[in-house]
Symmetry: C2
Subunit: 229 residues, 2 copies
Amino acid sequence: MSFTYDYARPALTTDCVVFGLDEEDLKVLLIQRAIKPFKDQWALPGGFIQVGEDVDDCARRELEEETGLKNIFLEQLATVGTPKRDPREHVVTVAYYALVNLIEHPPTAATDAKHAAWFALDDLPKLAFDHADILKLAHERLRGKVRYQPIGFELLPEKFTLTELQKLYELILEQTFDKRNFRKKVAKLDILEETDELEQDVARRAARLYRFDRSRYRVLIKQGINFEL
Amino acid sequence: MSFTYDYARPALTTDCVVFGLDEEDLKVLLIQRAIKPFKDQWALPGGFIQVGEDVDDCARRELEEETGLKNIFLEQLATVGTPKRDPREHVVTVAYYALVNLIEHPPTAATDAKHAAWFALDDLPKLAFDHADILKLAHERLRGKVRYQPIGFELLPEKFTLTELQKLYELILEQTFDKRNFRKKVAKLDILEETDELEQDVARRAARLYRFDRSRYRVLIKQGINFEL
DNA sequence: CAATCAAAGTGTTAAAAATACACATTAAGG
DNA sequence: CCTTAATGTGTATTTTTAACACTTTGATTG
């Protein structure tokens, strides 16, 4: 079966930069390509958009097919359509970025049909196509956005300590914060709910666990109060 | 002549939300559609991407073809690919927004082959397709971005008064500023060059004209100083 | 079970930035 | 020369940000 049009059309794909966080690093989920071009090279998960499929849905579908991840934070990044970016033909890709917490999505769980693995941002393999550019763009977007939208919580488990939260910001923004000032700021935002639970299995004083209060955040946004860290 | 592919492909277009500013309003440039669907309705300028053409280039080309505008500030906004947004078939559009100064691009100059006209944002006609949604998205992006990137200057002529600059921010952000505080802030940014010229033909004390110093801005950005108004 | 270790948790002071606020000056027009 | 309309300018107060160090807690070890 084939499809015929009056005018030539570029092919359309989605690609997704999935960020995850572990103790030391910000990481990206890559898959090893099973087919040409760039066979066996590492690449962003993604694939062709189907006719009748919403672009966002395509990104989610491809992500699940290739990495097993679903129901995660996903946001459009940019559309790249440089004619020569794919050696086969003109392929326009809609790039997304996603945030997951590595604890609930460990490296092994993702290694499904295709070979998938997490890489630290400062230790990346050579990437297929222009995926290195897209990844860089995604990293810049993450850095920019994390300051004024509470997307960082997507990288943490549901309950987390304030120290974990601080480390997250320090990793993404590549700067350190004063512990007391950081906590004061976070407290003033008034979007964290203090649980009555403590960290488990740590060989020192256990820290209190907090939870991001989504509904509280929505209320504050409606009131015109804007999140900024 | 026709083109055949193994898999069905959505069509790909670009659309552009062009903002302009006059004394009282923020305005948008629309064109009246000459063909079906939505014949005679107002719509965003835009059109189909050609194979081998960069997506950004397509937006610029269509904009010039339909409105005569060229060499203007243009930035990608988002890609919209809801299957039913075009009644003919699945059309994915890459939306852009552009900023021009209305003084140098008056309403009449744009009325080329197709019918084009500027509309105040609070007095829009019914728009074709989902263009009203795209326009709203562009307006939000403009509001968000104008605070921390000096894109507002794109809406002004090369030389402008501080009062004009203040009015611009007040119109876009829909709030008022104190004249003295506004000027203090602008002065501290240190990205305006004071010219030795004054406003012409005003029936009152003429205000001094300023110019946005692009190279100075680039230097400051490189030094990590970030613009914020 | 006392000592050690590692990180949790907590306030104050000084500096900088944001805000509130009003009047004299200038130039054109009648 | 008087009126009009908008330009241009400074200070005091409040709020926000930044700098800075020690006690508490609880598990581990000898």
